[in-house]
Symmetry: C2
Subunit: 338 residues, 2 copies
């Protein structure tokens, strides 16, 4: 039985999902992959919990939920920041799930580069650094001979990067087109079914916790644009960065425009497109009843391939445990190759 | 660079697709996987072509298409049967693409078992032996410490087995439900759009080459039932065989029934369902606009998972090169693990 010491930096919804999913799946991983996972450190923006003997998954979540931080984790709580944690502890795999920062990629970028230089494998769900520094990160991972995985960055629980790289590895992927942001899909679906205005629907989505208090990254297409950059680099081998994407969000879409489309058998959806010719996120007319006719926060993507024709995947684009499932798949794939 | 000697038994549409796809992708496989593929033998039901130095992919297809057999392949043509080919030649991987035989599983079953006993890896697209002897085949592969892959047996180019086993490996798959046969989906879609009778639509499908001259395996649900057995065994770890499936085909579906459904917003589709509780293939009412509302020969499947929620794949269920893409993916995955 091999042992793997896991360090998790970032303890919001996704971080908690990762801890919960490790709790749920550690027995399965022992049995099927002959590997024992031990969480030796967790850090959020202001606190930490560290133990070389392993932390208790349920107690980590309970401490964060009842105390609001990790410094109150019995015996092993503290206030180290991410970099200090990586300096101090002995670990094998970093799970970097800090918030996406599309301006600088920090703090995720520095944490990941440090982990690579220390010879550690990394799994991330953070889009910021990948959207602006994809090549630098991937080259550093290669140089340091470590594994770097990021399935969860695009479309949460819906597999697409591993799907293209592994399950379709006989095919050349010529383009990818799809609905890559769940929040905007929810807003547009509700505007279509209710005939409501953009601003009222946004407010309702915020009340339901589907849209964030500052909804800019979702509604202005920034989140979807980050995903097109990651797909362009990882699946189509295009050396692209965030500034290469032509981005239009949904904040100018009126209920009248949606009604007009509806009368002609169309819907308005925020579509991301990735091809050698174009990296684009914009609202587009799609046919009712087509593969793009998805309600709620679902995501979908159609991969155009040379041998297999079009292959489409549909799945949940967000959710704590759902996104964690992609991180855990990456973790298992790292272990399998060791 | 590692060399792999490939033996292909079966040279119908799928076999030709495999040869064509190797021709198209051998350079990519050299570059990306540091592996050289060489087809050293191809056999069909009555003829063969064998050369330890490798056969020419284009000449193989041209010979079969112009002469109707392989015995006229210049210099290396002959009349060995499958078993004699395996006895005579030196090879690494068998691609078994003989026709599905749901009564005995032959000749595929004996060929595969012989290959296993000789220590060879096997890829197959043949559903017959897997639907009736899944366990025997898998146990033999394990005992002989060889790899056995069969992505192409279910839904042609649409990835599902590798998708579940690898891309969703963090999840427990609780059930699979979907459209697993393209021919019947084509017939039902046409009956719905044209209001035509079952028998007229079947005849039209036969003229177009979509339905076979003897359409029994497709229209009576046998083909879809074989696929549910393979999914039950490979993804849900259920020890099932063909006789465990509750099967109803589409030959009793009338245009009146389809019309009635249509008026209420429903469609009739041939649905395969796999769960611990039930293995079933039957015509069912599905909602217009739902994930099952697919036209033509497309296949789809929704996998219900514990962590990632529902994940759906849609793709081409048949086609020579499309099905070959799944076989080539299996071949690449065998090479990657060597």
């Amino acid at each position: 039985m091999k042992n793997y010491k896991i360090c998790i930096i970032g303890f919001g919804a996704v971080g908690k999902g990762v801890v919960e999913s490790i709790f749920l799946k550690k027995e399965m991983i022992k049995q099927e992959y002959d590997a024992e996972l031990k969480i030796v450190a967790v850090g959020d923006s202001s606190s930490s919990a560290i133990s070389d003997d392993g932390l208790d998954e349920r107690l980590l979540i309970e401490t964060k939920e009842t105390k609001g931080n990790l410094s109150d984790y019995p015996e092993f709580g503290g206030n180290l920041d991410g970099k200090d944690i990586l300096d101090k502890i002995d670990y094998d795999i970093l799970i970097e799930v800090t918030p996406t920062n599309i301006e600088t990629g920090e703090p995720g970028k520095s944490l990941i580069l440090k982990a690579f230089e220390d010879g550690k494998d990394v799994v991330t769900s953070n889009k910021g650094h990948l959207a602006i520094n994809y090549k630098e990160l991937v080259v550093s991972a290669q140089k340091n001979n470590v594994q770097f995985k990021f399935e969860a960055t695009v479309a949460g629980a819906m597999p697409i990067i591993n799907f293209a790289q592994e399950t379709l590895n006989s095919c050349n992927i010529e383009s990818i087109i799809g609905i890559l942001n769940g929040t905007t899909n929810y807003i547009l679906s509700r505007m279509t079914s209710e005939g409501s205005s953009y601003i009222n629907t946004l407010n309702e989505s915020q009340e339901l916790g589907i849209a964030e208090t500052d909804p800019t990254q979702d509604v202005e297409g920034i989140d979807a644009a980050c995903k097109t950059v990651i797909l362009a680099n990882s699946i189509l081998n295009i050396d692209a960065t965030y500034s290469d994407v032509d981005v239009t969000g949904i904040s100018d879409i009126t209920s009248e425009a949606i009604d007009l489309a509806k009368k002609d058998g169309y819907l308005i959806k925020l579509i991301g497109e990735v091809s050698k010719k174009s990296l684009k996120v914009s609202p587009r007319l799609v046919k009712q009843g087509s593969a793009y006719d998805l309600n709620g926060t679902l995501n979908m993507a159609t991969l155009k391939t040379d041998l297999a024709g079009d292959v489409t995947v549909v799945g949940k684009g967000a959710g704590s445990l759902e996104t964690a499932s992609s991180i855990l798949t990456d973790l298992i794939n790292i272990i399998r190759l060791k």
